[in-house]
């Protein structure tokens, strides 16, 4: 389990349009670049931002990761507050 690699994935997605495109078109290939186990890959693939934050991932990254996908801020807050989104 690595908070570091999870943060690297989210940082790379937030700072590179090319990474965003690859993640959108071929997420398995994109995530294959990183030292993540299957559970960690699932957290990213399914935008499980609450669990990512619970693992210590910086919430500036989880918030940016959520918004860059075009998802709503209100849904993000519901998830972070452990309410139904």
């Amino acid at each position: 389990m690595s908070r570091n690699s999870l943060e690297k994935v989210l940082y790379d997605l937030s700072t590179s349009g090319a990474n965003k495109k690859l993640f959108a078109s071929d997420p398995d290939k994109f995530l294959g670049r990183y030292q993540l186990d299957d559970q960690e890959k699932d957290l990213v693939l399914n935008y499980r931002v609450r669990e990512l934050a619970d693992r210590g991932v910086n919430t500036m990254l989880t918030w940016g990761f959520w918004l860059q996908a075009g998802k709503s801020n209100s849904d993000y807050m519901k998830i972070m507050k452990r309410e139904e989104a």
């Binding site: 940082y11 937030s14 934050a53 910086n58 500036m60 918030w63």
Partner: protein, 276 residues
């Protein structure tokens, strides 16, 4: 010799650009009016250089390398995270002063990371746009402290760094008139479940510390207290500590304060006196 002639602490809130309607018109006018007042004050002080002390938000530096404190010693460009009305562009740099501060630090126990062609984010870009750029011809030295991503720079180290900057400026062989800008929000939570909470009591406490030049009060703040009462974004008050120390903690005046939940931040503005 160069001289620090003024100082300020201000927020650098990108939400006011992305969601301008998150504040009332009165609040928005107060905030933008405060920036304008400070820009005017910089003009009155006849300053020609601004040292803007900001912090990275996991925008500039990634997990591969997380510097403790960085200074521009060459060109500056930003903000890389463009905002409506603030496009990424070159920022006129005082490279000689930045290099001098870095060299002074190397000789006196401060191992700066240097940016010889430094990119900055909104923490430098917003105060530059609203306070420095309106005063044509000014140059900038950009400083970034580890405030947004752990391991955080200890507040005491931020203070010591500010004192070291003051020493360096005083020894710079030029006639530069320098203002120091500590750039950071007070209470705000970024991306966590408390985002939108602001804490006016905490904000007032921090502003009181600033305007009283209360070094002991600033250094007594623990990360636990800041995170509990101010939120993860309030770790940015390290920039205030650095600016206070650079002006020799002579106190100051609150210019404006607005707690704005719609902008997720306690927005405080103060001018710092400079010790004679």
């Amino acid at each position: 010799m160069a001289e620090i002639v003024g100082g300020f602490v201000v927020p650098h809130n990108p939400v006011m650009y992305f969601n301008p309607k998150g504040a009332s018109q009165e609040q928005s006018d107060t905030v933008y009016g405060a920036y304008a007042k400070m820009a005017d004050r910089i003009k009155e002080l006849k300053a020609d250089t601004a040292i803007i002390i900001g912090c990275d938000h996991y925008i500039l530096f990634g997990t591969e390398c997380l510097p403790r404190y960085v200074i521009s010693t060459g060109e500056i460009e930003g903000p890389v995270d463009q905002l409506p009305g603030i496009k990424r562009a070159p920022i006129a740099s005082n490279a000689a002063l930045g290099e001098h501060i870095a060299q002074h630090g190397f000789a006196t126990g401060f191992d700066w990371t240097v940016g010889r062609a430094l990119h900055v984010d909104h923490s430098v870009g917003i105060p530059h746009h609203l306070m420095v750029k309106p005063n044509g011809g000014m140059t900038t030295v950009a400083v970034m402290l580890a405030c947004g991503v752990d391991p955080y720079l200890p507040i005491r180290r931020a203070w010591d760094l500010g004192e070291n900057i003051a020493e360096a400026v005083a020894g710079f062989p030029g006639s530069d008139r320098v203002v120091v800008i500590g750039s950071g929000g007070i209470s705000h939570h970024v991306g966590d479940e408390r985002m939108g909470e602001v804490n006016p009591d905490f904000d007032r406490k921090i502003l009181d510390i600033v305007i009283q030049g209360d070094k002991a009060g600033m250094l007594a703040l623990t990360d636990e207290e800041i995170l509990r009462d101010g939120g993860n974004g309030a770790m940015e008050i390290r920039t205030y500590a650095c600016a206070m120390a650079a002006t020799r903690a002579a106190g100051g005046t609150v210019v404006a304060y607005e707690p704005i939940p719609g902008w997720v931040t306690g927005m405080g503005f103060a001018e710092l006196k400079v010790a004679a």
